[in-house]
């Protein structure tokens, strides 16, 4: 068994492409998702058209700008500038205060402020809108309080649990872990087994007295080790580059991950059993597994908002359950009592896939 594993490591370490996929990809993915793909609102460029220029509008403006969410791009002089600012794409939002804002507020008890948003990115627009409205409302409340004008008010106080700063890294790290483990384990094993088929070395292995389970284990053990190293690297990066805490039990997290890795490897063996070439194996794992993992696991798009059919399909994705587990351990810090069902689902899938792949692994060429 040991020579087999040693041989497999030689294959991996001598192939630059494998090395890039194994070690470059996880780091690149985490950095990419962590830094580049962020949905956080920060320094959004805005323009302000202040027809009134009184103390109230100035106060609101300075509140908005000091929040850190917005950055003043320009002060507009007239309505004509609004269209152009959006067309140039230099601002995401224009805030328009009407004439005699403070006076109206005092006399009539109400004044109008118009928010115009660039909704070509709907999600961002919604968020900017909510942030702006929120800041303006808070300010109005404070004003009224100091003026002693409202006798009664309901104050909502929101507390964001598990991710108080609403950092998107918290959401991406569990997803990236899942994708990387899936990619490394499933794709790499299926490719490495089909490569032996293509090169004709599988014939020689089959003719030898090796048992199928020995061939499979010899193929799989190196990838278990490498996937595990990857997992550690991602967790360390999440902790020290992005400051993401691991609230729960690290050992439990690693154990759950090993189970997921074993499942992914069994899947890889199964793929290699049905594909004839490296290319076919790669396509199968890429489009058959990776895309659904990204799209349907709730990694990027919440499963609850999907059409019913897709929700049903998402139940079959083991990655969906794994992401729930990882989030529960890392963010909520809860123990196995809270996700034993998910664990059981993955465990069952693992047993099923192992049984299938050992059965499908052929001792002959047909």
């Amino acid at each position: 068994m040991w020579p087999f594993i040693k041989k497999e490591f030689f294959h991996i370490f001598r192939d630059i492409r494998s090395m890039v996929i194994l070690f470059g990809m996880p780091v690149a993915q985490v950095l990419l998702f962590g830094f580049a793909i962020t949905t956080d609102i920060k320094d959004v460029p805005i323009a302000i058209l202040d027809h009134s220029k009184d103390h109230v509008t100035r106060e609101i403006t300075s509140k908005l700008l000091s929040s850190g969410y917005f950055k003043l791009e320009s002060n507009l002089k007239s309505n004509d500038g609004i269209g152009n600012s959006f067309k140039r794409g230099s601002v995401k939002e224009v805030i328009v205060f009407e004439d005699n804002f403070a006076k109206k507020l005092e006399k009539e008890g109400s004044a109008n402020v118009q928010l115009i948003l660039d909704a070509s990115e709907p999600n961002t627009a919604t968020m900017i809108n909510a942030y702006t409205t929120g800041i303006i409302n808070t300010h109005t409340m404070q004003m009224m309080k100091t003026a002693g004008k409202i006798p009664m008010s309901i104050i909502t106080e929101s507390k964001m649990l598990y991710n108080p700063e609403l950092k998107s890294v918290y959401m991406f790290v569990p997803g990236v872990i899942t994708i990387i483990l899936m990619l490394v384990s499933t794709m790499m094993t299926s490719i490495s087994i089909t490569r032996e088929k293509e090169m004709g070395t599988m014939e020689a292995l089959l003719v030898s007295p090796l048992k199928p389970i020995q061939i499979i284990l010899g193929k799989v053990i190196p990838y278990i080790l490498l996937s595990f190293i990857n997992l550690i690297v991602i967790l360390l990066m999440a902790r020290f580059v992005f400051g993401m805490p691991i609230q729960g039990n690290v050992v439990l997290l690693l154990l759950e991950s090993i189970m997921f890795i074993v499942m992914a490897l069994a899947l890889g063996i199964l793929i290699s059993a049905v594909s004839k070439s490296q290319q076919q194996a790669m396509l199968l794992s890429m489009f058959g597994l990776l895309l659904p993992t990204i799209m349907l696991s709730g990694f990027i798009f919440p499963v609850e908002n999907m059409p019913y059919i897709l929700q049903l399909i998402s139940h079959v994705m083991p990655s969906k359950w794994f992401i729930i587990i990882v989030k529960a351990i890392m963010l909520k810090g809860v123990g196995i009592a809270y996700f034993w069902k998910e664990t059981l689902i993955i465990f069952g899938t693992t047993i099923f896939l192992i049984a299938m792949s050992v059965k499908k692994f052929k001792l002959r060429l047909e």
Binding site: R14, G200, T201
Partner: protein
Amino acid sequence: MSVKLEIQELNKDFEKVKALKNVSLKVEPGELFGFIGPDGAGKTTLFRLITSLLLPTSGSISVDGLDCVSDFKKIRNLTGYMPGRFSLYLDLTVEENLNFYASIFKTSLKENYHLIKDIYEQIEPFKKRKAGDLSGGMKQKLALSCALIHKPKLLILDEPTTGVDAVSRKEFWELLKKMQKTGITILVSTPYMDEASLCDRVALMQKGEIMAVDTPEIIVNSYAGRLWEVKTNNMFALLSNLNEINDDIRLIFRFGETVHFTTTKLEEDTVSTLVASSLKEKGHENIVVKKTVAQIEDCFLALMEE
């Protein structure tokens, strides 16, 4: 020590083609047995059936009394198989390849070094080189070493000399002869007709069928008809011109620098004058017609025509 092989009415169908049709054959212990035939004759399929990599559609194979379907694990232990594509790990070095193959057969290079000493000595200077960087001849020797490292009793070599230069081919056959003396039974397939004479016995294969099985001498001597060799200054037109001379001039095909043809009914003395004069009429010069001895290739082509 060595084993015998018996094949009975073996058939193998793939989805669209019948790869082997009613193949029956016996190989005696210690024999160097050749399977000769062009690509697609069914040689590789036959070897894969013997090594139990494929299952027969019907018929049976027994190696040393063991059935290739039910006792396949035992058969795999006593066979050494060198597949057509050499099956080496190209990113591993010569030494690593050998050690790996030794280990999966639960032995080691050290333990069985004496078995492959003659062959391995020739590639040992390159033992740190990757298999992918070896020449065809060296790859072949490495693959043979890998197939021999576990002391098999039956050695099966699928086209070991394809893609290998002439000198290496000659050396390789000398090695096989030497190995045969240790008592091992050897099956070898080749598309090169000239290698047939190096085997104890050969089977001529074509489209999944065995056309003849015998020693190369007997096959050659039993050639039906008289074989002639022609050479002129216009080899290009020669083939078609020969065809037009007489109905009894058959099996016309190029053979190296010359053209061979066969006659059966024509008087032996008249053939050369008839052919020479007819060719002269058609504009050929420097005409040489002489009787020649059949070789395996002639027999093969004659059998194909039947």
